[in-house]
């Protein structure tokens, strides 16, 4: 469904990506891994058209998208949950959810069933939510655009363990309904049982591709690319 090949991206004169390849199949969950600063978020920004790649190709459902503006990419069915719980701070929970809603499937009822707290706090201003609730809101908002591929960038970073488990449970639920997901996260323990495939980035290159099971069983590999 998503194929990325030879992606090279620059921030001004400095090159951040030197060749990233990855493939996400229909209904699959793929984890994009790597230490800090290796290009995970840049890869996602390039896929979404926020920082277009200079070279390489991004094909989404058979269509070349790497020259398209961000809103077109999103309309084709890429739903991004950006890093750091980016809600629209001055809108209510409900407004955040319905402002960009599109398509059929995920609606207000379905999202509040997934995250009951969002239903309880529908009238509250997003700025005043807790960090975990803001993250739930960001995920709910992306789901309401009914994406073909959901992209989660560090969805559980910096959250309390209890909230983190709640979010993982939701991701499991969403995946169970056949949603294709591309995910960046550092919690191998939660992520490996869920993901089908993993891609590891190092210094702007994809250096390892394989199944989650392979990575789970290979402590040396984990240590080499992901250990701190």
């Amino acid at each position: 469904m998503l194929e990325v090949a030879g992606l090279e991206t620059f921030y001004g004169p400095s090159q951040a990506l030197f060749g990233v390849d990855l493939v996400v199949g229909e209904g699959q969950m793929v984890a994009l891994l790597g230490r800090n600063g290796m290009g995970k978020t840049t890869t996602i920004r390039s896929i979404c058209g926020l920082t277009p790649a200079k070279r390489g190709s991004v094909t989404f459902r058979g269509r070349e998208i790497h020259r398209l503006p961000a809103f077109r990419v999103a309309r084709l069915g890429l739903g991004l949950v950006p890093e750091g719980r980016r809600c629209f701070p001055n809108l209510t929970v409900r407004e955040n959810l319905i402002a960009t809603a599109r398509g059929e499937g995920w609606d207000l009822a379905a999202v509040t069933a997934l995250f009951p707290r969002l239903g309880e706090r529908a009238g509250q201003i997003a700025r005043t939510l807790s960090g975990g609730e803001q993250q739930m809101l960001a995920i709910g908002r992306a789901l309401m655009t009914n994406p073909r591929l959901l992209i989660l960038d560090e969805a559980t970073e910096g959250l309390a363990p209890v909230i983190r488990q709640e979010i993982w449970a939701a991701i499991r639920d969403v995946k169970g309904r056949g949603q294709s997901i591309l995910l960046v996260d550092k919690n191998l323990k939660d992520l490996l049982p869920l993901a089908e495939a993993c891609v590891i980035l190092e210094k702007g290159r994809s250096v390892w591709h394989g199944s989650a099971a392979e990575l789970a069983g290979d402590a040396v590999l984990q240590d080499r690319f992901l250990g701190v």
Binding site: F71, A74, G79, P82, F88, R102, G123
Partner: protein, 329 residues
């Protein structure tokens, strides 16, 4: 519960006060104050227009006098041709003046929309200080264009000898004219209220807060902002047409950058992004202008101090001061 009702209460008091003031003035046989109330209603309407762009959309337009003045000139030019019996355009089709206020309004809305689409299409490619400057530049262009139009009075402006008419309403009567302005103000308030609380309004506020985030969710910010900018200009343009009819006069001063600044002042004084902010702002402005202005010519010093204290100590403006912070539900 009491806290929740504060803003609607403040709004209701404002709207009622604006209605009761001219009625009392008529009862006391003080027609001057009816005109003053009409000024407040009209300038508030101009502010309601700008508030949609500035408050909800975060577009700090320093050129809304362009639309205000265009509305004024539509009223002035229509009245001139109707008075002279001459044609505005003789070819390819003949367009004369008009004595109908409805026609003036419709033409004003159309002209404001077309000009705002053009100005917005260019200006909205920029943001921040550049947006302020480019909207100012467009307004100045229209200002100098008006000055260089001898047919329509040039620098001296254009007198409207006869206020245009509405069916069933004697627009020449100060109170009836006030009620017309008041009704339009209420309609504009209702319209912006519905707009801001719609899905479009939510998207517009998203575009203000973070256009990139909005784009990743599949909505292009540009058309949303352009639509809001155009609607905002149409409301301000309508206020300009009423203003010219109220004064019986339109001149390039209505297009000047000082006027743009004044409209921004109404919005900031009243409370940026607050529905009734421009009403409070325009009322306070006119009160300062006429009461302190009657006492000293240096009334703008007082206005400056008030504005300074609003910006420093009452960021929510008059509405914020009276009704507390903006709240939902």
């Amino acid at each position: 519960m009491a806290e929740r009702m504060r803003e609607p209460l403040v709004n209701a008091v404002l709207v009622l006060a604006l209605l009761i003031a001219p009625l009392t003035a008529v009862a006391l046989d003080e027609p001057f104050y009816v005109g003053l109330a009409s000024r407040v209603a009209i300038l508030a309407l101009a502010g309601v227009g700008l508030n949609l762009a500035l408050g909800s959309g975060g577009m700090v337009s320093f050129g809304h006098a362009a639309f205000f003045g265009l509305g004024g000139y539509v009223a002035g030019i229509a009245a001139l041709h109707a008075f002279e019996g001459s044609a505005f355009l003789a070819w390819p089709l003949e367009i004369g003046g008009s004595e109908s206020m409805i026609v003036v309004w419709v033409v004003t809305l159309a002209v404001s929309a077309v000009v705002a689409l053009a100005i917005g299409a260019v200006s909205l490619r920029t943001a921040g200080v550049y947006f302020i400057m480019i909207t100012l530049a467009f307004a100045q262009m229209i200002y100098y264009f008006a000055i260089s139009l001898p047919t329509y009075g040039g620098e001296d402006g254009l007198s409207i000898y006869l206020r245009s008419s509405l069916p069933f309403v004697d627009t020449g009567d100060p109170l009836s004219f006030f009620l017309v302005c008041y009704a339009l103000l209420l309609s504009a308030l209702f319209l912006t209220h519905r707009l801001v609380n719609s899905r479009f309004g939510a998207a517009l506020q998203c575009a203000r807060m973070n256009p990139e985030r909005l784009a990743t969710l599949g909505i292009a910010p540009f058309p949303v902002k352009l639509t809001a900018f155009t609607l905002s200009a149409m409301i301000t343009g309508l206020a300009g047409a009423l203003f010219a009819e109220l004064n019986g006069f339109v001149s390039p001063a209505m297009l000047s950058w000082q006027r743009s600044g004044e409209i921004i002042v109404f919005v900031i004084l009243g409370g940026v992004g607050r529905l009734f902010g421009p009403v409070a702002g325009a009322a306070l402005f006119i009160l300062l202008e006429s009461f302190i202005g009657g006492w000293t010519d240096r009334w703008q010093l007082v206005l400056g101090l008030v504005l300074l204290s609003v910006v420093l100590f009452a960021r929510g403006g008059v509405i914020g001061l009276l009704a507390g912070r903006a709240r939902h539900d």
